[in-house]
Amino acid sequence: MTIKGGYCQKILEMDLSKNKKHVIEVSDNFAVKYVGGRGWGARIIWENLERIKDPLSPSNIVVIASGPLSGLYLPASGKTSFSSISPATGLYADSNMGGMFAVEIKQAGYDAIVIRGRAEKLSYLFIDDDCVELKSAKKYKGLGCTETERHLKEDLGDETLRIATIGPAGENLVRFSCINSEWSRNAGRTGMGAIFGSKNLKAIVIRGTKDLPVFDLTRLVELGEHAYKTLKSHRLFEFWQRQGLMTVVDYANAAGILPTHNFKDTCFDDANKINGEVMETFYKIGDTACYACPMTCGNVNLVKEGKYAGTVTEGPEYETACMFGSNVGINDFAAVLRANYLCDEYGVDTISTGNLIAAVIEAYEKGILTLDELDGMALHWGDSDSIMELIRKIGEREGIGNVIAEGSYGLIKKWPAIKQLISQVKGLEQSSYDVRSAITMALSYGTSDIGGHHARAWTIAKELEVGSDWTLDEKAEIVIYQQTVRPLFDMLGVCRLPWVELGFNESAYAEFYSAATGIEISLEELLKRSEAVYNITRAINIKLGATVKDDFPSWRCFNEPIKTGPLAGKKLEMEEYTKILQLYYNKRGWDENGVPMLKTLDRLELTDIKI
């Protein structure tokens, strides 16, 4: 097969230690086999794994990849994928970001950028089509994410530059810091910001002007037009434009899966003060959207009065509203917005930050932490002032913030008793769904290759709705299916939300792929490649020391039944979970230790992967 479009077939490799760039030509076989985005990332990490020591040492690499569909005329085609070894989990990591960054990478003539080594001084990388330069970022040291972007645009005299930057938290190697672009697009999870920080890389600035290669533009436009029409005619389209992911707050609260008070409770009495309705009525002043996306789920909000007056931020979406709302007991939407703003500016992940702050509040409530250890802050639920102060302390690594900045594992190392209070998997703080009532969601978190995140599989709604008669077999299968479909979007360089939220048919993506690349391919074949990538990330994790015990959700899921709400009394049973986990391994073709078997690797054409 020959690639006729979709890919630039070039990777820009930048060694920061030597200040040397190198452009790698990508073979047709490699490009198609690993598709792009996270697929390329995982494969490149695998090839470099032997050489990578500590995640925060110069030996680590970060792969910033677009996909073959990035930038093309189809809904939400602006996803950038960051892959590396995580400083939070010590395992494989990826995180993706919306916006326009991926498009600009491709317009500059590359599919991906690989960053190696460590710059001597704080620097930023300026990619201006073929001209690549490492420049001093001394001036931007300590600046917040949006501020850095604004200054860079001013100093370089071009408002159309695309910039991915870290904030003070990334510079200070906070283990859950993120990479931010265009105000509020974040590669949030797994500590990508700290990896940039460890490489003395403050930002990447790109300006690209080239045409994106497309094999059959007429066909692509036809398919794209059809996709846009389908989305626009969905009955929830207009509502989605208005509220975006904020609609989930009411759903999660009514269903009884809204993490509240550090995942102790699953319903929040004041959920109607932090939901989409409140946002729309009192705070929302505008929409934003990622590249070529009609869904506009970015909500721009302004606090007009009270102590947080003047705060403007893009967001929150559901995860942030929950983690800085119900999960820390905040019932004031203005405070949620302020927390969102501070996290974006310091450059920390809102999920991990909210999750850990909630755990610290509970630890203080339970007497595990003393007033002294909290720098004299008597924390309690809903105490927004102290919570804002904690975000600052984390970002600046000051006092208690310095301990929280080390993430779940750091906190547990310092205070072992806090282990039972932190909801995390593999050291990545769990995102905002309580799993005690839904074993498929527990399995999703447990077996997610990056740790406790819902990006790989989100099965909870379906299980609560229709899953009561599912057999364990079926339950394991649905998790595997989701873990195969969802990462495919990250490999293609597009957003999964048109499929998740507005029911856009996933088979359309095989057609998009064919139109773009000139390679006729079926959805099944693409899914097989996604499955192969899941086996590569598994192999990376096994090599890095992950074992069966890393595939379990947190202590609370098995030991404290839900106290209130529609699902009161539910908890996970260890025996059942162990059973479904083994079933899952079996169906994936992994042995009882969760290691991919040779015949599985054979079937997926991964014979060169030696575990």
Partner: protein, 183 residues
Amino acid sequence: MRKLTVIPERCSGCRLCELACAINAFGVNNPKKAKLRVFSLYPHPVIKKPIVCNQCRIPKCSENCPTGAIYTEDGIVKIDEKTCVACQMCVTSCPFGAIFVHQEIAVPFKCELCGGNPKCVEVCPKKAIIYTPEHILGQSMRLAGVLKYAHMKEVEYFEHGIVKKLRYADTEKGKTSGDNNDN
């Protein structure tokens, strides 16, 4: 004569208009070759404005063109590629910045309204760009001006036990302080 007009507060900044325009105009998937641009003012994500050609009746671009390459045909301002010397005088003299250049394209390019069926209008998911008869232009500003003067008020009243609303203009409030000389 119909013209493009934009409602910036509706624009989400997705740039689908740019992409569709470039595909339509040059047959390439490259938003940098669009004949309109969405300008986002940083760091105010609320301020996003599609910059479109207003097809001015007294076009500065044409006035300043040293070779007379810019002419008006049926109300649409066009660039004659043969006469144009690509000095880019038009680009800098347009008061709106609605003429663009790209290193791969020989001469500056601008919106020519897609033969009466503008692609950007068709694809905009937020209806932020509209194609409207000339005499409608400015209507929203006229309306805003009227409402500002009138200070519309609402009162609730009961009629046969049902709450109804009445809107009326509180003209007294519309007076500016300068009008109240007799006080």
